[in-house]
């Protein structure tokens, strides 16, 4: 039987037992985003000649995070909730040749990880941050998140959410990220191409992917995918989407000094000259 082409990048089994199928619920968007990312990495290895050994995936905690838990046939870390970007900072400082892809969720980035998120963007560290945004906390049972829109009932907003939500792309850009974009799980090819751009980008690349949680939303995955397609509008940088549509596309792409490059000037002052 022909295997899915991306299975070469997953650990289907190990010395102490099988690892696949993925633990995700049927129709969860996480696996789709991983699929798109692996396609992107596959193309980068082939087109750019990046060594497979140099790719590192780091996640925090949550449904998005499970993707690295023990499935990836890459170096990875399934780490502490919200602290992914701080850990990624340490890894980059230790070995700037690593191509670090941070996979995180809307709670991991926008709530507990908020401080590390804005500072990683401010520092313009050479990281590719893929944020799976399903508008809630999936792993723990469907609680409200900083990305839940007003009025929505969740397990911790049983009377409807009374708070406004973050626009994580705007937050990233305002904090200093030099590349921001948003797609959905209904746009896998676009996601793949944007992830490639993000890895190639020398600086902080923030790619938000709206993703479906069929279990907590009590809807079918295919209905949710169709809704994601319907409720979003692709815009170019500088445009605004019509009021009822969520803007998707690549928003910001500027050039600013990247952290490792800037700090290298400090180190170079002291490099041995004899």
């Amino acid at each position: 039987m022909k295997k899915h082409p991306m299975l070469k990048y997953l650990k289907e089994t190990g010395p102490q037992g099988d690892r696949l199928p993925l633990i995700m619920c049927p129709g969860c968007g996480s696996g789709q985003v991983l699929n798109a990312i692996l396609h992107a990495v596959d193309r980068l290895i082939e087109e750019d000649g990046i060594r497979k050994e140099n790719f590192v995936f780091i996640t925090g905690v949550g449904c998005s995070a499970r993707l690295t838990s023990h499935y990836l046939n890459f170096d990875s870390g399934w780490t502490i909730h919200g602290r992914t970007l701080a850990i990624a900072t340490g890894a980059l400082l230790a070995n700037p040749d690593l191509r670090i892809i941070v996979i995180t969720g809307d709670g991991d980035t926008g709530a507990i990880g908020g401080n590390h998120f804005i500072h990683a963007c401010r520092r313009n560290l050479d990281l590719t941050i893929v944020c799976l945004n399903n508008g809630l906390y999936g792993m723990t049972g469907g609680q409200v998140a900083p990305t839940t829109i007003p009025g929505v009932a969740t397990t911790t907003t049983p009377y409807g959410n009374t708070e406004e939500e973050f626009d994580l792309c705007r937050l990233a850009e305002a904090s200093g990220a030099t590349f921001t974009a948003r797609w959905t799980t209904a746009h896998p090819h676009q996601t793949m191409r944007t992830v490639m751009k993000g890895v190639r980008k020398k600086g902080a690349a923030f790619i938000e992917v709206l993703s479906q949680c069929p279990v907590h939303k009590k809807a079918s995955p295919t209905d949710m995918l169709k809704a994601l397609k319907k409720n979003t509008k692709r815009i170019k940088s500088g445009e605004t989407a019509p009021g009822d549509k969520i803007p998707i596309g690549e928003f910001c792409n500027i050039d600013k000094p990247e952290w490792i490059q800037s700090y290298q000037r400090v180190i170079d002052q002291f490099a041995e000259t004899d």
Binding site: G17, D18, S69, G90, L93, A94, F270
Partner: protein, 386 residues
Amino acid sequence: MNNKHVLKPGTYYLQGAQACLEGAIAAGCRVYGGYPITPASEIMEHAAQRIPQVGGRFIQMEDEIASACVLLGASWAGKKAMTATSSPGFSLMQEAISYGIMSETPLVIVDVQRPGPGQGYVTTSQEDVMQARWGHHGEGSTISLAPASVQEMYEFTIEAFNLSEQWRTPVLIMTEETVAHMRERLVVPPIEEIQIIPRKKPQDLGIPPEDYLPWGHDIVAPMANWGEGYNVNHIGLVHLEDGNITQYDLEMHDRCVKRLQAKIEGNVDKIAKVETRYIETCKHLVICYGSVSRTAIEAVMEARESRGLDIGFLRLKTLWPFPEDKLREIIESVDTIFVPEMNLGMMKHPITEALRDRCKKVVSIPSLGSLHTPEYILSKIHEEIR
């Protein structure tokens, strides 16, 4: 100081904070992530100057949690990394320490203790010594050292890095404001006399990636770095030796956590160090650690010389894992054990547990916010012993 090198052999006059950082550099630390906090900021400021001089990377992070997390990432990517903080920041770092224990990540954290609870004050203390062992959530042990001088800030920091790499564990340097801020002579020995223990790697043992068990092969598993093609998946959940977390059962859970515990607690004899003086036939004993030992030894010597008291001195250089067996080996029978501490009595508990049947009484000599003077310790001894 504009020195492009590791500190060369010779005699220096340094602050404890500086000596600590120089020890880290001598041990090979090349990543430092920190956050300012009194009275630990001097270590970070010295790092900001010196780490780039030796080709490393320094970063001031946005908080203490981020600083501790930088160490995790840097260690996995192959570099020795350190941070320094004080008591409130130490509380913030506990989650990362706990994760470091489960993921068996070498890293070094310096806690320049100050009084608590809360903001407490900015003077000296030893109030975090229990937190060093029990502050992280869950089971599993750390290694904690207690330097007592500027020289030891240098030497114990090198030792901390060695222990962390050798045992694949977070190591805590539980120092105090007294030691971090004091200035004393530091003697740096010739390079060949400084022992540096590197991380044991699967490549060194001839284990190829396809046969590598990230938490197997030995009680301390060889550690592959990121970027070397070993496809290491670092995790914080209980796990099997090959890194699998799906196959959960109670036996695996038990085995995983007990191995972490046994790795440290089962090797106390190889890890923990003590110093003793006047111990052979002493009738009473002072047990202390950190800067308190500097004034305690003065009290002991005064008691012996001028007052004729047969009192011995034992200093814990390692707080955790607690050297219970070593203490029981050294002490057969004494009357009173005095434990002067800059807290209301913390290490007195494991000391009492270890030596309850070897003594008549354990007496705590607390001091909050300042170092005991020799006279104060002596007065407390005399209250007990007429």
